[in-house]
Amino acid sequence: QAGDLPTMDSASMGNCINAKKLCLDDFTCKVPFLYLETCFPFMASAPQKPENQEGCLEAAQQLQNSSLGNCRCQWRMKNQDICLAVYWTIHSTYGLGNYDLGGSPYKEIVISKPRKFNHLDLLESGSMSQSSPDLCMKSTNLCTLNDRCNKLRLAYGEVCSVARCQPLRCQQELRVFFEQVADNYAHALLFCPCDDGDDVCGARRHNTIAPSCVSPARDPPNCLILWDTCLQDLLCRSRLADFQMHCCRMDPLGNCVGIEPQRCLKAYMGLIGTVMTPNYISNLSADVAVSCSCQGSGNQLEECMRIQESFSRNPCLTKAIKAQMQVHRQLLSKSSPTAISQD
């Protein structure tokens, strides 16, 4: 019986790799864990429905009180995929209906105050200054002036370029970029504000993650099929769960209770480079969507629409993106004080 469970203290949450080691040293934990690994063999291509669902549920409940019960993974940890495999071995059992992934595998992170940009003064001076500096171009050039941002951006730019596009490498390098670049640079590049009707700025913002290479499918797949594809990939499933938890929690009134905008944006960026890569819908819009359709959903049209609308009609996400754009409008426009802090 689940009974009264110890309160969850987030600080004590070790990562799941260590938790697994602890578990395997303790017979009462080892047996149910090894059994659970057969329930959702993440090494197999698709997690089929386990034959003996009862046994799996029981094993999962026994592990609730073990170190595995509330272990998490970190964003930039080594062997992240192994950690995520352990997490989902434990937590796949609790999916409440398959369109609710039940919480994020990632540990809580401290969202740092948005840092200023160095070299901003450089952009205003002499030969650097641009005739009509739209803020997306400015963000791009700010990235170029930062060693790490420039290096990682060139890395994905090369494998996502026209005539040399390698979709899988492009997705991988995009993930590396958004994971390893300082948040202020990643935010500036992705959530740069454009004036209404400025389609040049909008086109840069829309194409900055090279959508024609990342998701080259001519006619977009059905969102349910895309969702299943994502679930079969450890990283995509984890990023989707993180997004669901940090961007899609609405109270009955539909306002974003307990959603921290910066954390939601991090979850949104976490999906870039997976099969469910979200992007702006056009050169003239700040609305975002995942490229999938609800054609051919049959009786699951409502579930399909929910998946689609968790990106295209998500007030929490839209508010977070708009707020971030406003921050950058101040930071990047001329009036802002020159940046001093080093990267």
């Binding site: 171009m137 730019g157 040399r164 840069r204 194409n207």
Partner: protein, 111 residues
């Protein structure tokens, strides 16, 4: 000393806009253009010393190239890139482009 070394063949960086590269790409995006510059005095051979002397004394009859000054003769190794790297950017139609071997990655005195 340090000051002297700065004149030797080394990698330099210049921030340029893509359209300034003269490759026909019309974009305001900045890129870090790296190139090699500096002298290569140290490794000169007997050949170089004699050649320099003959050049200075005007002893060599160099065929003029049609209207463009004398044909080039170098009496010392040249400071040139020993490795290159591609540079990617978004052109004016916001398409990602990559130009191979656009920027120098390392320099050396060659020949």
């Amino acid at each position: 000393g340090h000051r002297r070394a700065k004149l030797d063949c080394h990698l330099r960086t210049e921030l340029v806009k893509v359209h300034e590269l003269g490759l026909g790409h019309d974009s305001d995006e900045l890129i870090r253009f790296q190139y090699c510059s500096g002298a290569c005095p140290k490794v000169r051979s007997n050949h170089d010393i004699s050649l320099a002397h003959l050049l200075r004394s005007g002893r060599l009859r160099l065929p003029a190239q049609s209207g463009r000054g004398s044909v080039r003769v170098l009496s010392h190794p040249c400071c040139r890139p020993t490795a290159y790297k591609a540079v990617s950017f978004m052109d004016v139609s916001n398409t990602w482009r990559t130009v191979d071997s656009l920027s120098a990655a390392a320099c050396g005195c060659l020949g």
